[in-house]
């Protein structure tokens, strides 16, 4: 079974440009999460989808970031316009849990590395 896949694996853009990251969760996983690690910092939660609905977007840094999950399958994270401080690795994860239970695991993708010059 395919795991969580992310595209692109690495993107290099200039400040002010737009980048869209894509995440394909494991088939059947209703929960989809975005996390990111900026250089030298810890992995930080960005947001959580349950199917196509945003369950929690408390970690989104500002309105330059837009996440969508139309149809409840894959998700995109758009950064527009990108700033230097957006550089980092963006991880996507998915899980089967559909309730508030903690008894389960998240499956992470390998991440999309974003470099803003």
């Amino acid at each position: 079974e395919a795991g969580v896949t992310q595209f692109p694996s690495h993107s290099v853009i200039e400040k002010g440009q737009t980048v869209t990251l894509r995440c394909d969760p494991i088939s059947g996983h209703d929960n989809l999460y975005w996390y990111r690690r900026v250089m030298g910092k810890e992995i930080k939660f960005l947001l959580h989808f349950v199917k196509e609905s945003k369950q929690d977007e408390s970690g989104m840094p500002n309105n330059r970031f837009l996440a969508e999950r139309t149809g409840g399958t894959y998700s995109t994270l758009k950064v527009q316009p990108a700033e230097l401080e957006d550089s980092g690795v963006y991880f996507c994860a998915s899980s089967q849990l559909t309730s508030g239970s903690s008894d389960g695991e998240l499956f992470f993708g390998e991440g999309s590395r974003l470099t803003v010059l």
């Binding site: 999460y33 369950q55 991880f91 508030g100 903690s102 008894d103 389960g104 695991e105 998240l106 991440g111």
Partner: protein, 109 residues
């Protein structure tokens, strides 16, 4: 959300048992303790999860005392491929994970 404290780094040798302890003094009643492993250029990978007492799977054991204020991940007979960063994470509700700095384990020949 519960704050965790774990050693920044640890060193070990192949074949040894490694125990990584994490403190989480203000863990919530409904939080589980989950440990993830991360290799360079990869996403975190689930290792083990428990609520209290002892849990064992094919790769590790997890010990959680009755007060649940700490937990210990035990890796039996480590190999070079176990060199990674290990994260201790209380997970409560929808698995919103709060990552700390983790413990960087280096296994030497």
């Amino acid at each position: 959300l519960a704050k965790t404290t774990q050693p920044i780094s640890m060193d070990s040798y192949e074949g040894q048992e490694v125990n990584i302890t994490c403190s989480h003094n203000n863990i919530a009643t409904n939080d589980y303790i989950t440990w993830y492993q991360q290799f360079p250029s990869q996403g975190p990978r689930f290792i083990i999860q428990g609520y209290k007492t002892k849990v064992t799977n094919e790769v590790a054991s997890l010990f959680i005392p009755a007060d649940r204020k700490s937990s210990t991940l035990s890796l039996p007979r480590v190999s070079l491929s176990d060199t990674a960063v290990y994260y201790c994470l209380p997970s409560g509700g929808y698995n919103k994970l709060i990552f700390g700095a983790g413990t960087r384990l280096a296994v030497h020949p």
